[in-house]
């Protein structure tokens, strides 16, 4: 027989049994929706966690202040040398004049400060380099480099050493946060998978007599299994649709609140911007869960 015809029959059989076993299909789809929803929520939580953590990471930097008598070309040479370090993500040079301009702008409304500055003969502010590392634990390497480099003579102070304890602690908190997030993700995803597997096992258990009849009538195992796998995929497809739609009002409501609490990213905007990627991820998870669970659940009943 042509394989095309067989596949067509299997797919038709899967759709038909999905439709005709309405209650079983509804229950399985709802449980699957729960599982896919958990997976989707984990996705969003990870996005939120990553954004919050990188936001915190972004707040950490070190500043190198140069002596007021340091020549600008020496500072620029130091800038270039530090920028070469692989640990450095970005570096910004603030000249003495820039620092003064910023200072004036910040205190524009304060006449006392402005007048005091005007009375000074020289610019009292130091030139500085603001350095951001690739990750918080690398600040120490950068700080050590500065300490031992030839530029030490023109450096007045490096504020890393003042903030060292805070940065180290933050670095530990961030990596612990990531590990806990990953652990929770794996645990919840495993629970979701087990719940789906058991629900589909139950749905197939109900049909075990039918399966044995199909086998006795002379159907091959693949031909019997096929429609159940198609039904399993359908549970997943519907669950992915329902979940994706559910996330619209949920992120709409929760997004701004989370953004306020964690700072930065609004989940609703993320949902809209990544709508198709999110849907595809949920769809793939749903289909994979449904088909794999069916294949596993039907195995024992095919041994007739």
């Amino acid at each position: 027989m042509a394989t095309g015809v067989t596949i067509q029959r299997i797919i038709r059989g899967g759709f038909m049994s999905f439709w005709r076993n309405g209650w079983v299909s509804l229950t399985a789809t709802l449980v699957m929706t729960l599982a896919v929803f958990v997976i989707g929520s984990l996705l969003f939580s990870n996005v939120l966690l990553t954004s919050a953590l990188s936001q915190i990471e972004g707040q950490v930097d070190i500043s190198v202040y140069f002596r007021t008598d340091a020549a600008e070309q020496d500072i620029l040479a130091a800038n270039a040398a530090i920028a070469q370090l692989p640990q450095v993500r970005s570096i910004a040079y603030v000249s003495r004049d820039d620092a003064l301009a910023k200072f004036r702008a910040r205190h524009a409304g304060n006449a006392l400060i402005t007048q005091s500055l005007d009375e000074l003969a020289d610019n009292p502010l130091q030139a500085s380099l603001n350095i951001r590392a690739e990750s918080p634990e690398q600040y120490e390497v950068i700080a050590r480099f500065l300490e031992s480099s030839v530029y030490q003579a023109i450096i007045d102070k490096v504020n890393y050493f003042q903030n060292q304890v805070v940065i180290e602690r933050l670095s530990k908190v961030l990596s612990a946060g990531r590990a806990v997030g990953l652990g929770i993700t794996i645990a919840l995803a495993a629970i979701a998978v087990l719940v789906v597997l058991n629900t589909i096992r139950l749905a197939i258990y109900v049909a075990r007599d039918e399966i044995s009849v199909m086998k006795v009538v002379g159907a091959s195992s693949a031909y019997v299994r096929g429609p159940f796998v198609v039904s399993g995929a359908l549970y997943g497809i519907f669950a992915a649709f329902i979940t994706t739609v559910l996330f619209y009002p949920l992120t709409f409501w929760f997004g701004p609140q989370a953004a306020k609490f964690f700072g930065g990213l609004n989940l609703f905007h993320y949902y809209l911007a990544h709508f198709f990627q999110i849907f595809l991820i949920l769809l793939s998870c749903g289909i994979l869960l449904g088909t794999l669970s069916s294949v596993i659940a039907i195995r024992r009943y095919l041994k007739v």
């Binding site: 027989m1 015809v5 067989t6 029959r9 038909m16 049994s17 005709r20 076993n21 007599d209 039918e210 044995s212 009849v213 199909m214 086998k215 006795v216 009538v217 002379g218 159907a219 091959s220 195992s221 031909y223 007739v304």
Partner: protein, 227 residues
């Protein structure tokens, strides 16, 4: 055609279903296997279908040793055997037409053949007007007729009927037996397992009596003797 060679089936030390049964069935025969409930009739049929394995002995379907056959050979053997059961065993979520068509689809028949053969089979069992009814919309007798149509639609060499009239009223019983006789007259081997002596005695065909897992009588034109 079918040969049971010293077949025993033991479920546990105290539960012996078959004990050294040897039995040969020729093509086009109508054989009634009789005995009380639990005598081993159903086990005998399950062994032929490879639904169960014998504890010892061998079962042959033509040249195939059923229990040494590959999964693919088992499928081929099953497609040459039509089955009718006491509890009908129809697929509840498929209509009468689809139940019969399933046996053909599983065997790889073309859609065009299915469109012709299934209505013919329904016609033969007198259910042409109930093709699109689901099993729960049919009476016991009608369900059994659908099961017979499913059993014969692939033009099998053998039809196994395990207590086919067990759940039926006397009128349906007569109809089902009439159908099995016609199927046999058209050249198909029929193996009927039953404990109903009236239908066996009315047939006047070969009767194999099983008691406690052993063949105790095998008469060419037999009767079901009740002790």
């Amino acid at each position: 055609m079918i040969y049971f060679d010293k077949v025993s089936k033991t479920y546990s030390a105290t539960s012996i279903a078959l004990d050294g049964v040897s039995l040969a069935i020729e093509p086009k025969e109508f054989v009634s296997i009789v005995g009380r409930s639990g005598a081993g009739k159903t086990t005998l049929l399950k062994l032929l279908l490879a639904e169960e394995k014998p504890s010892s002995g061998e079962v042959y379907f033509e040249s195939f040793n059923v229990h040494n056959a590959t999964p693919n050979e088992v499928i081929q053997i099953r497609r040459r055997i039509g089955c009718v059961f006491q509890d009908f065993r129809l697929l509840p979520s498929k209509t009468a037409f689809e139940n019969i068509a399933f046996a053909m689809e599983a065997a790889g028949a073309a859609d065009a053949d299915i469109a012709v053969d299934v209505p013919q089979a329904l016609e033969l069992v007198g259910l042409a007007d109930k093709a699109w009814h689901f099993p729960n919309e049919l009476s016991g007798g009608e369900k059994q007729r659908v099961a017979i149509a499913r059993a014969i639609v692939n033009r099998p060499d053998v039809v196994l009927a395990d207590e086919p009239t067990g759940n039926l009223d006397p009128i349906s019983m007569r109809e089902i037996m009439g159908l099995l006789k016609s199927i046999n007259e058209l050249g198909t081997t029929v193996i009927l397992a039953t404990h109903n002596h009236d239908i066996v005695n009315a047939l006047e065909k070969r009767v194999v009596t099983i008691e406690s897992g052993k063949v105790v009588r095998d008469d060419k034109k037999g009767r079901y003797m009740i002790k």
